[in-house]
Amino acid sequence: MRHRFEIFWHLFVASAKMFIRDRSAVFFSLLIPLLIMLIFGVLNFGAAAQLNIAAVDQASTTSSAALVATLEQTPGIDLSQQGLDEEMSLLENGDRALVLVLPPGWELLPPGADGYQPLTAYLNQAQPQAGQTALLLVNAVVAQSLIAAGGGSPEPLIAVQEVEGQNLGYIDFLVPGILGLTIMQLGLFSVAFGFVQLKRTGTLRRLFATPTSPGYFLSAQVSSRLIITLAQTLILLGVGLWFGVQLVGSVVVVLALALLGAIVFLAMGFGIAGWAKNENQAAPVANLISLPMMFLAGTFFPRDAMPDFLQTVTTYLPLTYLNDALRAVINDGAGLDVIGTDILGLAVWAVISFVVATRLFRWE
């Protein structure tokens, strides 16, 4: 027993050492996800919900200046005030949702009043949604100013009550997705390519020439990848926290999920590696599994945005279960009652992958 464990242990250490020394493996399993986090985290796409509106004040009257100032202070509006030509070309390029022109001599007057002039709003036909939203917002601001100027109450017509809630940014959505994605990539690719290469070059055959059963090597490879997955998850989660991700749930549960996910994708990876004769056979299959999931399993964007039937289908993807569970634990601190279905889904996928892998596996 001790003898067996020693052999396993030496192979385990060697497998881990080989993984860490393999630059491309480290690149794909750590640097790429960090880079994705950095890009999406710094750009902070989720927060970019500001409407870019331009005001061109050709009136230069007290009331026109007051309106521009009000617009500038309105939340949700990012106001720009360059010349008409510049703003129009920015509008055409899609960089402005609306360009508001205050014509010469314009005063804040109700329609029908003496000297009343309408404001002109230019919209981009190609971006009707942003344009219409901006138009509503500008209309509301003008109407409100008019009411205030006419001696009416400056209070809004609708009273707003804000409820305190979690302020979840895009980074909170993204980091659990990146964790799920890297767990999948490590399981599928580090094995599918690394192991197939050992098979093709005859390195595996050389191991068969020793009295140690190849099963030891296989279990050492699997366990080293599981430990590496845990380390990778901790590192990425740490960087995520540094980026301001709110970790509500328990780290232990996150690691347990990472382990379960890694088992599913490692089984798939070994299935591919066991079936393929060389890297050229393994690559398309690994990509065929990973690429659709990368985009359909709610890694970068919520699945709510997809058509209904696609939402239904993608519910059952292994990466969807993993992403949803990780997100529920990290963002909401969910317990087993919430992520039970996801765990069950992952377990079913683990069994399916394991059975298929053992059927397909060939040592040579």
Partner: protein
């Protein structure tokens, strides 16, 4: 007529390898078709033959690397069919295309292979034996062809094997590296290792082997000492069409380029 006496080695020493009527088929193809031979302890035994003759398959069945379809093989008294792992523990194998993990250096690889035999490998001693001491911290991929072959012999020696199997140890090497390998194999024989090797090079077989078996179409079609096989042919009236020259082109090549290894 000259009478040839068999070397005492062949009749006195107990055979360390006994192959009896070995058979292996791939579909219709009979890759190995009833091969029988014995190898005495301490001898260098060569298996010669064209590509596809069944040399490698025969070796792999005896090594426990490939299931035996028919017949039996014993190595050091252990039946390969019933205890392949027991045979593997007692032998050292150099495969035709030997590849090792890229990310480990030579010392780490030898230590790891030692663990697979459950022995503590003396990496430095093994590397010194194959003259790779200065490459102890290098990776296999940075070695030249000859160095790779030498390293795979070092890896085959980690368990101090009773029998060493070398599958085409000099194929693809330049004349200098090949001669260097010959010296290494002769040294192994002197230290008491039994060596079974396959080769395409007749000169190599003549220089290194105590006995050779010639295989074709999955059968052994001749087995004797190199001298015995040549005498038998000459005895049947064979004469070379051209007078034997006193030197070969390879002798010229070695004379001009020297014995120095070209690999660094």
């Amino acid at each position: 007529m000259a009478v040839r006496y068999h070397r005492p080695l062949m009749t006195v020493a107990a055979p360390i390898i006994v192959a009896r009527d070995l058979r292996k088929s791939y579909g219709e193809l009979r890759a190995v078709d009833g091969v029988s031979f014995e190898v005495a302890e301490g001898e260098v035994f060569g298996i010669l033959g064209p590509n596809g003759a069944g040399k490698t398959t025969t070796l792999e069945m005896i090594e426990g690397m490939r299931p035996i379809d028919g017949g039996t093989a014993t190595v050091d008294g252990i039946d390969v069919g019933s205890d392949p792992q027991g045979v593997k523990a007692r032998i050292g194998i150099q495969l035709q295309a030997s590849a090792f993990f890229d990310e480990l250096n030579l010392t780490e690889l030898l230590v790891l292979f030692g663990h697979l035999y459950h022995v503590k490998a003396e990496a430095a001693t093994l590397l010194a034996e194959v003259e790779l001491t200065d490459k102890a911290r290098s990776q296999v991929r940075t070695l030249s062809g000859g160095q790779k072959q030498r390293f795979s012999i070092a890896a085959a020696l980690v368990n101090d094997p009773r029998v060493l199997f070398l599958d085409e140890p000099t194929t693809g090497l330049d004349p200098q590296a090949r001669r260097h390998m010959w010296g290494l194999i002769a040294g192994l024989r002197e230290r008491g290792h039994t060596v079974v090797l396959t080769t395409h090079y007749m000169e190599e077989a003549e220089t290194l082997c105590d006995r050779v078996a010639i295989m074709d179409g999955g059968k052994i079609i001749g087995i004797d000492t190199p001298g015995g096989l040549i005498d038998a042919l000459v005895g049947r009236g064979f004469r070379r069409e051209r007078e034997e020259r006193l030197a070969s082109l390879e002798d010229v090549f070695i004379d001009l380029t020297g014995h120095e290894l070209r690999e660094d």
